[in-house]
């Protein structure tokens, strides 16, 4: 039991260290996100649309695109340099490997992106009372997106990540609609507790189930 705990902790530490050292992998998406958020208002007529309205209109797709680009090659290098093979031999399955990758992605990519999104929400003069709701929505939304994109990446590991994105997009659309509705309710000042509960439930299920499916998909590729 202690051996397993030590092994999982080492895996988490190693993943965190690798990502921390690969600066472009986490800083790049944050810069890209900021650039889109800055550039978007410049491309439209701001006289007819308020900044807060604009923010709520573009944020979901911007986060989705940023998530896609930030985990575009999440398994690619590990697959081709034999790291995934070594994890499989060590643990006899890839669940721990995928779960650790997910945990580090949440800590080092999702949380900073949520924080920057909130900073932009404040800068775009979004009603301050919306911020706690937005924060929770962004975290859940990204956890769902990232899980699906992990799965897409695993499916298409030897065919390029675009194919993976095409395959998982139909599953992502319902989540985009759900979060779009949540933002509409926020604008209308309708409480969204039920959406928060549902989104949290979906993200927990996605973390457990999709991690498992992603691990199996990667193992099948090794065979």
């Amino acid at each position: 039991m202690r051996d397993t705990q030590t092994m999982i902790l080492k895996q988490i530490k190693d993943e965190q260290f690798k990502l921390q050292k690969e600066i472009r992998s986490w800083l790049g998406p944050l810069i890209l996100f900021s650039l889109i958020m800055i550039a978007f208002p410049l491309s439209i007529d701001l006289m007819n649309i308020g900044l807060a309205e604009l923010f709520l209109n573009i944020i979901i797709i911007t986060i989705l695109v940023t998530n896609y680009l930030s985990i575009d090659d999440v398994f690619f290098e590990d697959f081709y340099d034999g790291t995934i093979e070594q994890s499989l031999i060590k643990d006899s399955n890839l669940y721990v490997y995928v779960a650790c990758k997910l945990m580090i992605t949440v800590l080092m990519k999702i949380l900073p992106l949520t924080l920057i999104s909130i900073v932009f929400a404040i800068a775009y003069k979004v009603n301050v009372s919306f911020l706690p709701d937005l924060c929770l929505l962004f975290i859940n939304m990204q956890i769902i997106f990232v899980n699906m994109l992990f799965f897409g990446n695993a499916i298409s590991i030897n065919k390029g990540s675009t194919l993976g994105l095409i395959l998982v997009m139909p599953i992502i659309f319902p989540a985009v609609i759900l979060f779009g509705q949540a933002l509409t309710f926020l604008r209308l000042e309708i409480p969204i507790f039920s959406i928060h509960f549902m989104a949290t439930g979906i993200s927990i299920i996605a973390c457990i189930l999709l991690t498992f499916v992603t691990a199996i998909t990667l193992k099948l590729h090794l065979e």
């Binding site: 080492k10 260290f17 690798k18 690969e22 081709y80 340099d81 034999g82």
Partner: protein
């Protein structure tokens, strides 16, 4: 010597092309095994079947007891953007620092600890990948063409270490294109 594995009539085929045909072998502790064969003979495939990464198309492997194993394959699971030292901290498990320093000195890698992995030559990268056989403790080591890319002096160091592992009661299985001058059981594929 204790029995670790019984490989019974293993066959493996991809798209109706037979890679392995009815391979049978008993793997015991305290022994060294060499799989010899040309390109595409199925040496790596057999190692991966033993490692349970790939299931055989036919036949089975009977495991007498559980044991820890280390596989060092063609691929080098070390990252180009990290230094050799940083890579080893991630790559190695349960190792003693003193043993690691001795090994790095033995393999002429001690001065390269702070060098980015991408700046090392292929031979140096291969040597780094082989460090676990010197510092990690496992019952079985499976090495896929461990001598490729190494100069003669370092091939001798690796061979010496493999002999010493067998002397310590471990099992070493390795693949090669040409017979290595080592006292071991040979399986021609």
């Amino acid at each position: 010597m204790t029995n670790l594995l019984d490989i019974q009539n293993i066959s493996y085929s991809i798209n109706s092309e037979k890679i392995l045909r009815n391979v049978s072998l008993k793997i015991q502790s305290n022994m060294m095994y060499q799989f010899i064969g040309g390109n595409g003979a199925g040496k790596t495939t057999l190692l991966k079947i033993i490692l349970e990464i790939m299931p055989p198309s036919k036949g089975k492997i009977f495991k007498h007891q559980s044991f820890s194993k280390k596989y060092i394959g063609h691929k080098i699971p070390l990252k180009n953007y990290l230094t050799l030292d940083e890579n080893l901290k991630i790559y190695l498990n349960n190792f003693s620092e003193t043993k690691l320093i001795d090994t790095l000195k033995k393999l002429n890698l001690y001065d390269k600890r702070d060098t980015k992995f991408s700046s090392l030559s292929y031979g140096q990268q291969r040597k780094a990948a082989l460090i676990p056989i010197f510092v990690e403790t496992h019952e079985m080591f499976l090495l896929d063409e461990p001598f490729s890319g190494l100069d003669n002096a370092h091939i001798e160091i690796i061979k010496k270490e493999m002999i010493s592992l067998v002397g310590d009661g471990k099992t070493v299985i390795f693949t090669s294109h040409i017979p290595a001058e080592l006292e071991c059981e040979t399986l021609r594929l």
